[in-house]
């Protein structure tokens, strides 16, 4: 129990910390690295929640594929390191943004913390998942109840591939 809390607190703090760092670094590579850290801590949180599959997927896809792409792109287009601190857009826009963000967070938080969440109770408590096998249940769901979204997701990926190739081709 205590272990869980400790892991949770540590991972949560690290997630927040890395997110804040990410948005305030001058060097984009630094931002990318912090984002990787953020993703990893979220993966830890997933394991804590007992969803092994999604934790692995988070690491592989987010921290692995997507971040790799981003880092490559940063290097490819050699984004400059911003000299001045005024990377931050203070001024009317920034202040408004800050205010609104705080407002948004306030709304989200109030809705979460105050009320109990309504909804149906599903049929997969932790024990049952353990019993059936964590990956097996996901696979089963993907192939039965969520077959259509699964197929559509593959179409989306196909489009992504084709689009990326077409867009990045050199002009003849």
């Amino acid at each position: 129990m205590i272990l869980q809390w400790i892991v949770f607190i540590l991972s949560a703090l690290f997630a927040i910390f890395s997110a804040l760092m990410m948005i305030t670094r001058k060097n984009p590579i630094h931002s990318a690295l912090f984002l990787i850290g953020n993703f990893l801590s979220v993966a830890v949180l997933y394991i804590l929640l007992g969803r092994q599959f999604i934790a692995i997927a988070q690491v592989m896809i987010y921290a692995g594929a997507i971040m790799m792409l981003i880092v490559f792109t940063i290097m490819l287009i050699s984004v400059e390191e911003l000299k001045k601190v005024s990377l931050l857009r203070f001024g009317a826009g920034g202040v408004i943004g800050l205010v609104m963000t705080v407002l948004l967070f306030g709304f989200l938080a109030s809705s979460v913390a105050v009320r109990t969440l309504p909804g149906l109770k599903g049929g997969f408590p932790l024990e049952r998942i353990q019993e059936l096998g964590p990956f097996k249940v996901i696979g089963g769901l993907l192939m039965t109840k969520y077959l259509l979204p699964f197929e559509l997701a593959s179409v989306v990926l196909l489009i992504g591939i084709i689009g990326a190739v077409i867009l990045a081709k050199k002009e003849r």
């Binding site: 857009r89 826009g93 408004i96 943004g97 609104m100 963000t101 407002l103 948004l104 709304f107």
Partner: protein
Amino acid sequence: MIEYVWLIPLFPAVGFLINGLISRWWKLPKGFVAWVACSALGLSFLFSLLVFLDLLKLPPEARVAVPDKVLFDWVVSGDLKTVIGYKVDPLSMVMALVVTGVSFLIHIYSVGYMHDDPGFTRYFAYLNLFVFMMLNLVLANNFLLMFLGWEGVGLCSYLLIGFWFDRDAPANAGLKAFVVNRVGDFGFLIGLFLIFSKLGTLTFDEVFARAHLLDPATATLITLMLFVGATGKSAQLPLYVWLPDAMEGPTPVSSLIHAATMVTAGVYMVARCHVLYEMAPLSMAVVAIVGALTAIFAASMALVQVDFKRILAYSTISQLGYMFLGVGVGAYSAGIFHLMTHAFFKALLFLAAGSVMHALAGELDIRRMGGLREKMPVTFWTFVMAALAIAGIPGFSGFFSKDEILWNAFASPKGHFVLWLIGFVTAGMTAFYMFRLCFMAFFGSFRGDHETWHHAHESPPVMTIPMVILAVLSVIGGYVGIPHVLGGHNYFHEFLAPVFGEAPKVEHVSLVPLAWAGGHAAEVGSEAVLELTLMVLSVAMAVFGILLAWVFYLKRPEVPQKLAEAYPRAYRILWNKYYVDEIYGALFVDGTRNFGTVLWHNFDEAVIDRTVNWIGALMRVMGAGLRLFQTGFIRDYALGILLGAIIIMLFLL
């Protein structure tokens, strides 16, 4: 045979369709067109005759009870139910015979007259269409179908008056005719609306059966409105102004439409609606007075005109006035009788005019004519027959009909001495101007140029034979209506009597009961003597008119000139037709145009255009304002999305 009455209008309709539609794609040969058009009319006349003979087989009381021939439902909407249906009774058959017979003769005449005209096919198509519309008018069994024919003849009149539309004068004349007709039709429509709203039906039989439910005021209003329509269609005061201008059309058109058929529609309508008019003595008085005044007014203008056809046009207006005088004093059959005889001799007069124009290459000014009787004997003799008929010389048809009207104007309970007097004076004027025309055109020496005289010739038989037939009718056409006073049997009156609810008069002489209040019958003593006296007086007046014309234009030609110089003001007023056209122009035409211009500037431009422009400007301003949001910077858009999300959340709270 009576069930086939619907074929009578059908034949000209088919003729119109054939000539009118096929000629759009293929040029039809003149012979074909002429045959189609004339045979359509011939068949129409034949069927009219057959139906008429069938009608004669029935006893008099049954003749008005023949059920209408209904083809199909026409307008069925709410309470209104009208049909395409035709009525067979003495009145409609008389009209049908006159229309089809005279039209047939004029169609044949037109084959010769319009032979060289490029619009030959179009002419016959329109002419057939006209007869179709006219037959619908006279045979209809309900007001709506009659109105269809009413409007239709107005349309065809417009098309035919403006036949040579590439010239200004005919085009304007056609337009004038149609617009003035329209003014009358407005009154007619008001009458129809009132009839329907008060009596709930438009079928003749039903309307006349329920007519007693109307109160006198409504009946008066209805009949007056219907009469307004008649003034337009039949060229009475104040809506007669289109008829003289209508002479711009081809002469056979003037003969058919503006002498024999269309202009008589108003008289027919009053006769048909006699039940309504009997309920409104005020309206009948109006009809009679307007008729009488028109008669003398138009005759006065004819005295000084020098255009052959214009004189005949004013004569037509004047004679129509007589017919309205007749029906206005309750002598419906007399009015229709004069309608029939007038159709014969007026149509003939116009055909003669056409013949003269044909010979003189379009000349119409009688000051440039003269001595034509040597060159055109047939035209001359037929013209004289018609002129004697219209003057009311005994033995010719016009005498019987005109005298019956004058007698009724004097002696009928709705008549009055003054009405008779006006008719009497007009008769003299009629004789005068008609023979003035005759003498100036056909007698004396030719006053035009030598070339024209050299080329003058008699018209071909296709034109003269119809004229001869009409001349014969002008003479013998009156013998169906010899008044009892002269020992004859008024078959015509007898035939039409059941329609007008009068008992058919049989034989003897002094039928006119002493109780008739109108006129001075009681004082004089015996009505028969009175009638004979009046007859003699009007004959004397006619002869006087002819003699005066002879003196003025043959014996002493300098007299008219001296008279004109002696009374220059009076002469000028008559010559300018009492300036009526100018008055109407200033009052209505210019008035409407100025009013329209005022509205245009002050309302259309100032208000409506401003509003529309203002709305456009508003759009532009709004667009300019909204454009400020489109900065093009993505981050501003992101801000906007966030803002939207927050607002939605506010709603969900």
